[in-house]
Protein backbone atom coordinates (compact mmCIF):
# COMPACT_ATOMS: atom_id res chain seq x y z
CA UNK A 1 0.00 0.00 0.00
CA UNK A 2 2.81 2.37 0.89
CA UNK A 3 4.96 1.62 -2.12
CA UNK A 4 2.01 2.03 -4.51
CA UNK A 5 1.58 5.69 -3.48
CA UNK A 6 5.30 6.42 -3.87
CA UNK A 7 5.27 4.85 -7.33
CA UNK A 8 2.31 6.97 -8.43
CA UNK A 9 3.94 10.20 -7.17
CA UNK A 10 7.32 9.59 -8.83
CA UNK A 11 5.79 8.32 -12.07
CA UNK A 12 3.51 11.32 -12.42
CA UNK A 13 6.43 13.69 -11.68
CA UNK A 14 8.40 12.16 -14.52
CA UNK A 15 5.37 12.20 -16.81
CA UNK A 16 4.78 15.86 -16.02
CA UNK A 17 8.39 16.69 -16.86
CA UNK A 18 8.06 14.78 -20.11
CA UNK A 19 4.91 16.53 -21.32
CA UNK A 20 4.83 20.03 -19.91
CA UNK A 21 8.43 21.18 -20.10
CA UNK A 22 9.76 22.35 -23.42
CA UNK A 23 13.47 21.96 -22.70
CA UNK A 24 14.64 18.78 -24.39
CA UNK A 25 17.03 17.82 -21.59
CA UNK A 26 14.19 18.08 -19.08
CA UNK A 27 12.34 15.50 -21.16
CA UNK A 28 15.25 13.08 -20.89
CA UNK A 29 15.40 13.63 -17.11
CA UNK A 30 11.66 12.90 -16.93
CA UNK A 31 12.14 9.65 -18.82
CA UNK A 32 14.84 8.62 -16.33
CA UNK A 33 12.56 9.43 -13.39
CA UNK A 34 9.77 7.25 -14.82
CA UNK A 35 12.10 4.31 -15.25
CA UNK A 36 13.52 4.70 -11.75
CA UNK A 37 9.99 4.73 -10.31
CA UNK A 38 9.16 1.43 -12.04
CA UNK A 39 12.35 -0.25 -10.82
CA UNK A 40 11.78 0.87 -7.25
CA UNK A 41 8.23 -0.44 -7.32
CA UNK A 42 9.26 -3.84 -8.66
CA UNK A 43 11.88 -4.35 -5.95
CA UNK A 44 9.65 -3.04 -3.17
CA UNK A 45 6.63 -5.10 -4.18
CA UNK A 46 8.46 -8.41 -4.28
CA UNK A 47 10.03 -8.03 -0.84
CA UNK A 48 8.61 -10.62 1.55
CA UNK A 49 11.05 -10.02 4.36
CA UNK A 50 13.59 -12.71 3.57
CA UNK A 51 17.34 -12.49 3.27
CA UNK A 52 19.70 -11.68 0.40
CA UNK A 53 19.43 -14.50 -2.15
CA UNK A 54 22.96 -15.87 -1.90
CA UNK A 55 23.68 -19.29 -0.44
CA UNK A 56 26.22 -19.53 2.34
CA UNK A 57 28.31 -22.68 2.49
CA UNK A 58 27.77 -24.81 5.54
CA UNK A 59 24.67 -23.08 6.89
CA UNK A 60 21.04 -24.03 6.54
CA UNK A 61 18.89 -22.12 4.12
CA UNK A 62 16.59 -19.44 5.46
CA UNK A 63 13.86 -17.79 3.49
CA UNK A 64 15.14 -16.08 0.36
CA UNK A 65 13.82 -13.11 -1.48
CA UNK A 66 12.68 -13.57 -5.05
CA UNK A 67 15.65 -13.47 -7.49
CA UNK A 68 13.75 -13.07 -10.77
CA UNK A 69 12.57 -9.42 -10.36
CA UNK A 70 16.08 -8.39 -9.31
CA UNK A 71 17.57 -9.84 -12.49
CA UNK A 72 15.01 -8.00 -14.62
CA UNK A 73 15.73 -4.73 -12.80
CA UNK A 74 19.45 -5.08 -13.42
CA UNK A 75 18.87 -5.41 -17.15
CA UNK A 76 16.56 -2.42 -17.10
CA UNK A 77 19.07 -0.12 -15.40
CA UNK A 78 21.76 -0.74 -18.02
CA UNK A 79 19.35 -0.29 -20.92
CA UNK A 80 18.05 2.97 -19.42
CA UNK A 81 21.55 4.43 -19.29
CA UNK A 82 22.30 3.43 -22.90
CA UNK A 83 19.07 4.96 -24.16
CA UNK A 84 19.73 8.23 -22.34
CA UNK A 85 23.22 8.44 -23.88
CA UNK A 86 21.85 7.97 -27.40
CA UNK A 87 19.12 10.59 -26.85
CA UNK A 88 21.68 13.12 -25.59
CA UNK A 89 23.81 12.56 -28.69
CA UNK A 90 20.85 13.36 -30.90
CA UNK A 91 20.17 16.52 -28.86
CA UNK A 92 23.79 17.67 -29.35
CA UNK A 93 23.45 17.26 -33.13
CA UNK A 94 20.10 19.06 -33.15
CA UNK A 95 21.65 21.94 -31.26
CA UNK A 96 24.36 22.28 -33.90
CA UNK A 97 21.79 22.19 -36.67
CA UNK A 98 19.25 24.73 -35.43
CA UNK A 99 20.91 26.57 -32.56
CA UNK A 100 18.38 25.97 -29.79
CA UNK A 101 17.11 23.19 -27.54
CA UNK A 102 13.59 24.37 -26.82
CA UNK A 103 10.85 22.35 -28.40
CA UNK A 104 8.85 25.41 -29.48
CA UNK A 105 11.54 27.22 -31.36
CA UNK A 106 12.91 24.55 -33.65
CA UNK A 107 11.75 25.49 -37.11
CA UNK A 108 9.78 23.02 -39.12
CA UNK A 109 8.48 21.15 -36.09
CA UNK A 110 5.30 23.06 -35.30
CA UNK A 111 3.56 23.26 -38.67
Amino acid sequence: MFSNLIFIILFMLGFYALIMKTNLIKNVIGLNLMEAAVFFWVISFSDIGGEISIHKLGETMGEFNDPVPQALTLTGIVIGASTAALLLTLIIELNKFSGTIERDEIEGLND
Binding site: N23, I25, L33, S44, I52, T73, I77, A84, L88
Partner: protein
Amino acid sequence: MAVLEIILIVFLIFSAVMAVRFDEELISIIFLSIFSLILTSLYLLHKAADVALAEAVIGAGLNTAIFMSAISQIRHGDSD
Protein backbone atom coordinates in the same frame (compact mmCIF):
# COMPACT_ATOMS: atom_id res chain seq x y z
CA MET B 1 13.82 0.15 10.03
CA ALA B 2 10.46 1.59 9.10
CA VAL B 3 11.45 5.03 10.43
CA LEU B 4 14.65 5.02 8.33
CA GLU B 5 12.68 4.08 5.24
CA ILE B 6 10.16 6.87 5.74
CA ILE B 7 12.92 9.49 6.15
CA LEU B 8 14.70 8.27 3.01
CA ILE B 9 11.48 8.32 0.97
CA VAL B 10 10.77 11.91 2.04
CA PHE B 11 14.23 12.93 0.78
CA LEU B 12 13.66 10.95 -2.43
CA ILE B 13 10.48 12.82 -3.30
CA PHE B 14 12.05 16.16 -2.33
CA SER B 15 15.02 15.68 -4.65
CA ALA B 16 12.76 14.50 -7.48
CA VAL B 17 10.61 17.64 -7.19
CA MET B 18 13.73 19.83 -7.15
CA ALA B 19 15.12 18.07 -10.21
CA VAL B 20 12.05 18.90 -12.25
CA ARG B 21 11.61 22.47 -11.10
CA PHE B 22 14.67 24.46 -12.12
CA ASP B 23 15.33 25.96 -15.51
CA GLU B 24 19.09 25.82 -15.48
CA GLU B 25 20.13 22.29 -16.33
CA LEU B 26 23.23 21.98 -14.14
CA ILE B 27 21.22 22.13 -10.90
CA SER B 28 18.76 19.54 -12.23
CA ILE B 29 21.50 17.04 -12.90
CA ILE B 30 23.03 17.41 -9.45
CA PHE B 31 19.64 16.67 -7.92
CA LEU B 32 19.30 13.67 -10.22
CA SER B 33 22.59 12.35 -8.86
CA ILE B 34 21.35 12.76 -5.26
CA PHE B 35 18.15 10.93 -6.26
CA SER B 36 20.19 8.03 -7.56
CA LEU B 37 22.27 7.87 -4.37
CA ILE B 38 19.19 7.70 -2.10
CA LEU B 39 17.68 5.06 -4.39
CA THR B 40 20.79 2.92 -3.87
CA SER B 41 20.36 2.88 -0.10
CA LEU B 42 16.65 2.12 -0.49
CA TYR B 43 17.48 -0.90 -2.64
CA LEU B 44 19.82 -2.11 0.11
CA LEU B 45 17.08 -1.72 2.73
CA HIS B 46 14.91 -4.11 0.70
CA LYS B 47 17.69 -6.72 0.64
CA ALA B 48 18.61 -6.52 -3.06
CA ALA B 49 22.41 -6.37 -3.10
CA ASP B 50 23.14 -6.80 -6.82
CA VAL B 51 20.70 -4.13 -7.86
CA ALA B 52 22.15 -1.69 -5.31
CA LEU B 53 25.68 -2.22 -6.67
CA ALA B 54 24.51 -1.71 -10.26
CA GLU B 55 22.53 1.42 -9.42
CA ALA B 56 25.46 2.90 -7.48
CA VAL B 57 27.91 2.43 -10.33
CA ILE B 58 25.67 3.23 -13.27
CA GLY B 59 23.19 5.72 -11.86
CA ALA B 60 25.42 7.86 -9.69
CA GLY B 61 28.59 7.49 -11.74
CA LEU B 62 28.13 7.03 -15.43
CA ASN B 63 24.77 8.72 -15.99
CA THR B 64 25.89 11.93 -14.27
CA ALA B 65 29.16 12.01 -16.26
CA ILE B 66 27.35 11.58 -19.59
CA PHE B 67 24.76 14.26 -18.78
CA MET B 68 27.46 16.72 -17.68
CA SER B 69 29.54 16.24 -20.82
CA ALA B 70 26.48 16.71 -23.03
CA ILE B 71 25.49 19.95 -21.26
CA SER B 72 29.05 21.25 -21.51
CA GLN B 73 28.98 20.72 -25.24
CA ILE B 74 25.62 22.39 -25.66
CA ARG B 75 25.98 25.43 -23.44
CA HIS B 76 29.68 26.27 -23.82
CA GLY B 77 30.36 24.57 -27.11
CA ASP B 78 33.47 25.36 -29.17
CA SER B 79 34.43 28.24 -26.96
CA ASP B 80 38.19 27.99 -27.33
